[in-house]
Amino acid sequence: MSKTPFPGQEAAALPPRALASHFHDLSQQKAAHDLGLWIFLATEILFFGGLFAAYLVYALLHPGPFFEAAAETEILIGTINTAILLTSGLTAALAVKAAGQNRHDAVLLLIGITILLGLAFLAAKGFEYWLDIHHHLYPTSPDFPLEAPAAKLFWSLYWVMTGLHAVHMTVGLGIWAVIWEMARRRNFSLSDNSRVRIAGLYWAFVDLMWLFLWPLLYLAGRAG
């Protein structure tokens, strides 16, 4: 099997086969990429897990003030963001499917939409942050609206959880933008290379995290 060295060596017009020199064949490389990313996702689950553990402990210790504080979040923007992220999850999954079938234009279009939706999510998030600050809903503000101390716990968790999620969103958008640009220049073969698939997996994971953050931060404490 001819092994064309992977990075940089521009083959002829055709995009180079994406086989790295130290792998025996393409299936081994794809398996390695998938496994590598899934292991990284397991670490991400545990990274957010620490926050969920803190939320769980404090919700059990101070149920009253904790959920009272949870009722203060902007549920409308939160729900809009959930819808945006679900849609971008769909377009990302379709992009991966299209890449698998080497459909160049479809991949470009779908990744483009995914990026736009991601930017819309971050814009809505920014506006929500501005509203929160306007309502003094951060623990160190002198006129924090809620009186019970545990309310500050919830709002500390709120800022850290949504902040970290936004960071992961920004990284995901960066990856999509780079892939979009490289795909436009056609310098990697869509079906052989696992880039789009890996980016799709990471994006679906960021989507997953929001599916859990949304009930914890926005739907909690809303009953009746």
């Binding site: 009253g64 009186e147 019970a148 101390p149």
Partner: protein
């Protein structure tokens, strides 16, 4: 002080049993270490390269059964040690009969100790021998750890928590008191003394203490100076619950729950009055969080406790 110590004097009930466990563990560990180091040494000499020792085939049982054997043996031994060591803790679960409460507050780089009779000490703790003392531990800033090596006991003092430590001194003498949890620059200067006196010497010591008023009278003064009397005293027009005879009994709350008025309830009502509003009253009481330090809170609680319990003891009995 100068002589070389390897084992500290056993000055408390716990010290005896802990040292027993310690000795057991030392014996077992040294046996295992000698076994392993001995075998490694013997094999190293006997089977060194070129030695004449016979190196025939290993017997069949040698491989798998031996493996299973020492796995079960170590597992059984370790679980047995655990059970033996844990047995001492189950005894702790039994609540003490009559324990005198001593309040100790850890503060950056000193221990402030208050006896129920109002005597105050800094970095010193005088105790009668043979009695059970319940140390109620709080911290005003960071985590400290109340550690008396001669009693073989320590208990971390965490801000936001009231932790308890039961000590039962059995030998008179002066023993070291350390802070064992790193708490900042002068962590190593946070050293004190625990003086265990005989009953009579302890009574003398109590009497010669400067006539510091006891906790409840100090609480009374705070009750007036901080304005609590303005609402909760008999003659005031403001609708606030009277506190006589409240302590210890059930308190019906506005949201239908009933709680027992214990230390924690009193403390919560002072710091977060809107948390458990008494049934039939408006939540108008201001929060005192920040206005009272730890010692004053303890004094106020003692005063409200001294306003008489609705249950067994007669009115005004010292706790």
């Amino acid at each position: 002080m100068g002589e070389i110590e390897i084992i500290l004097p056993q000055a408390s009930v716990e010290a005896g049993s802990t040292d027993g466990k310690l000795l057991g563990l030392i014996i077992i560990s040294s046996l295992i270490t000698l076994l392993v180091a001995g075998l490694v040494g013997i094999f190293a000499i006997r089977y060194r390269k070129g030695s004449k020792a016979s190196r025939g085939r290993l017997p069949a049982w040698f491989d798998s059964d031996l493996e299973l054997g020492w796995t079960l043996a170590t597992g059984g031994l370790f679980v047995a040690i655990f059970a033996w060591a844990a047995s001492q803790d189950f005894a702790l679960a039994v609540p003490p009969q009559r324990a005198t409460e001593v309040h100790a507050v850890g503060k950056q780089w000193m221990w402030k100790i208050e006896h129920p009779g109002g005597q105050r000490e800094i970095n010193e703790l005088h105790l009668p021998v043979g009695e059970t003392i319940d140390l109620v531990l709080n911290s005003q800033d960071v985590i400290h750890s109340f550690y008396i090596p001669a009693f073989r006991l320590k208990q971390d003092v965490v801000p936001g928590h009231t932790t308890r430590m039961r000590i039962r001194p059995t030998r008179t003498g002066t023993y070291r008191l350390f802070c064992a949890e790193y708490c900042g620059s002068e962590h190593s200067a946070m050293i004190g003394r625990v003086v265990v006196l005989s009953k009579e010497a302890y009574a003398d010591w109590l009497s010669i203490q400067p006539e510091g008023d006891d906790l409840s009278t100090e609480g009374r003064q705070l009750f007036v100076s901080r304005g609590c009397a303005g609402c909760h005293e008999g003659s005031s027009k403001v609708r606030a619950p009277r506190l006589e005879g409240v302590f210890g009994g059930p308190v019906p709350l506005a949201d239908g729950r009933t709680v027992t008025a214990d230390d924690a309830y009193i403390r919560d009502s002072i710091l977060q009055p809107k948390k458990d509003v008494v049934a039939g009253f408006a939540p108008i009481m201001p929060s005192f969080a920040g206005a009272l330090d730890e010692g004053e809170l303890v004094a106020l609680t003692a005063y409200i406790r001294s306003l008489g319990r609705r249950d067994a003891t007669a009115t005004g009995g010292t706790p």
